[in-house]
Symmetry: C2
Subunit: 440 residues, 2 copies
Amino acid sequence: MAEQIARDAANAFASLKTLSNDQRSTALQKIHVNLLKQKDEILVANKKDMDNAIASNLSSSLVKRLDLSNSGKFDTMLQGILDVADLPDPVGKCTLARKLDEGLNLYRVTAPIGVLLIIFESRPEVIANITALAIKSGNAAILKGGKESYETFKVMSDIVNSTLAQETDVPGLAVQLIQSRDEVSGLLSQDRYIDLVIPRGSNELVRNIKDNTKIPVLGHADGICSIYVDNEFDMEKAKRVIIDSKTNYPAGCNAAEQLLVNSSIDEASLNEILAALVEAKITIHVTPEVKSLIRSSILEQNAAFIKDTVADSFDKEYLSLDISVTFVHSTEDAIKHINTHSSKHTECIITESKEKADKFLGGIDSAGIYWNCSTRFADGFRYGFGTEVGISTNKIHARGPVGLEGLMSYQYQLKGDGHIVGEYLGGGGNKVFVHEDLDI
Amino acid sequence: MAEQIARDAANAFASLKTLSNDQRSTALQKIHVNLLKQKDEILVANKKDMDNAIASNLSSSLVKRLDLSNSGKFDTMLQGILDVADLPDPVGKCTLARKLDEGLNLYRVTAPIGVLLIIFESRPEVIANITALAIKSGNAAILKGGKESYETFKVMSDIVNSTLAQETDVPGLAVQLIQSRDEVSGLLSQDRYIDLVIPRGSNELVRNIKDNTKIPVLGHADGICSIYVDNEFDMEKAKRVIIDSKTNYPAGCNAAEQLLVNSSIDEASLNEILAALVEAKITIHVTPEVKSLIRSSILEQNAAFIKDTVADSFDKEYLSLDISVTFVHSTEDAIKHINTHSSKHTECIITESKEKADKFLGGIDSAGIYWNCSTRFADGFRYGFGTEVGISTNKIHARGPVGLEGLMSYQYQLKGDGHIVGEYLGGGGNKVFVHEDLDI
């Protein structure tokens, strides 16, 4: 069954790959029309999911994430499809053109990757988002959503599949929605047909998938982001950036989890920063060295918000209003701490020194390196990618927020006129390559 | 032990990453000087490896691959180091610059990947080649060579390590040579420290590594390349290209293994092509349909070179002067056959029709797609990449011949002035992003 799904996707990809941007974008517009036309059916199904969620005592935040009827969410979702349809064609862009010899020209051209397996939890609008990105980029997609949004997915995927099959040049099986968890484990072994797995969800989901497939996985498990406050710093920027990085959305992977403070900043400044954090209802987990410098008035008035660090305080993602705080002695020391403890997501330095900022920007081995701004900016929309499929802490292929570009590969096209290697130096002959770059 | 090696490499990478192009290139020049100075010692060690190889009855082609004293191989190897040193700096190139808002600018900058584990067989010049590429690109490398070249490696790696440690800013452990097979399996589980594995060697070596690690593997197991001869074709180009693709170096991964012929080409043409192949001492493995059209004179005079296809004839890499031959009915049919059977390495169409060539170029899902030229051109040197670390049939990250660029990742740098997300639309505020691309 899983093999059949994967093979169907590979076959659908083969024809999807040959379609023009017009054909792909028109398909998205048709999907938009039909989802809009059947808004009522979708919201009825969505209501069923919500009722089931409430009946099974799901947390109110989860129930809220399920709700498509809320404050323009449905319309935003549909508009997202049109926005993706209007993006420039990501397929077939020439990124290298080189004359190897007279009449022998090499071109590197962007191409879709192939078959994507996307596994996500709850939020039903993801189906529209991913469908749009996959079709626009010429990739086939197999989607597995959370069981909480089963009814919504079922209706939406029927609309997507029937629209594709009946009204467009995109094969109906270019986007397949699968239901059962059994099929997921079967699909994770289809490395012959599936080229990339994109999990969107909890750390556990991502880690579990990484541990159970040979297919490359794009995404992140942990988001352990750090902020380093240098001794040459601006107090207002520091407080703004730390508090925003921690409190703007503590459950986000781009929220800060650690605060490193240069050990030579004065006690008053240290106390001002920490007082601002506890005032913002952030629980600070401090090392003994940091604690020994906190003023007793602060300690006494905020006992509930001040904790001692424990063994794993600098290797965990709180996903809550908690932050670990320690001293480092220099920019080098901060870099070393971060490269050892971070999840290579996003790190920030607060400094007025360009020299130290440049050292930090050059030394950190993470997808995002920031200077005087919130780690929460690590996001495809904020970067101007239109929409994103997730944030990658991988070090190969796409890194950081991943938009359409991250779903593209490339191919080399070589156009000759009977050219053979045997006539060239190194291949047995004496012709020499020209290797002259051509205008793209 | 393996963990220590991997951690040392990660630490070496952390400082290597912060060095300038000058520091990295100077280190390569120093290595060049010392390898040249100790040429005699290296060749003595190399002689021991050769003697051992002959004593243990290794094939003469393997012994020949070991030999560094042969026809300028040593000098070519050393020149390669200087050539890499002279390449433009691959690190820190800005590939995207975008103003997100006043004073908040995003830059995407190339950066090394991290720690590479490179596993290769016999050829001792690879140590120089890989050392140069790794240091130039700012990556740390762990090298495991074949036991056949143990003595040569030992001497060369001592020179490399002592040069780095004593005369350069590059840490001595930026390049580590390891000896034992045990350590390889230990290293393959160090996914915390090692970012990419590059195996260079037999299909078995590559497959075995892919099956035993969670670390991304860059390379190819099989190279099953195909040539499709359309019915609108030029006979001379067809014969030249097919024979070169098959005979120029049959053991190469870019040699052709399959010939697809449009079923509407006339019998005389088919016979002319096949006669040329058998005359070039190529054994043709033909389907019954093809065989039924071969002239009896050709069949009788070349019985030893004409065989029937068997079940896996279109799913194997011969690595010898053999090729499988079948009919397909159209360009679409050829694309379908290739996308099903090829290893996604390099495929070629022989046609005088631009329309069919374009269809082929658009439909094939391989790293290289060629029109009227030999599949043997799939090579980093021929593409003008200077040197190559291998050829990738992966569909993510680097694809096709991989040069310095394939050893690079990128990072996002965001430079602000106290900017926080809470003030922007979507983050809780009402400021709007500018998203204006800047000149790079």
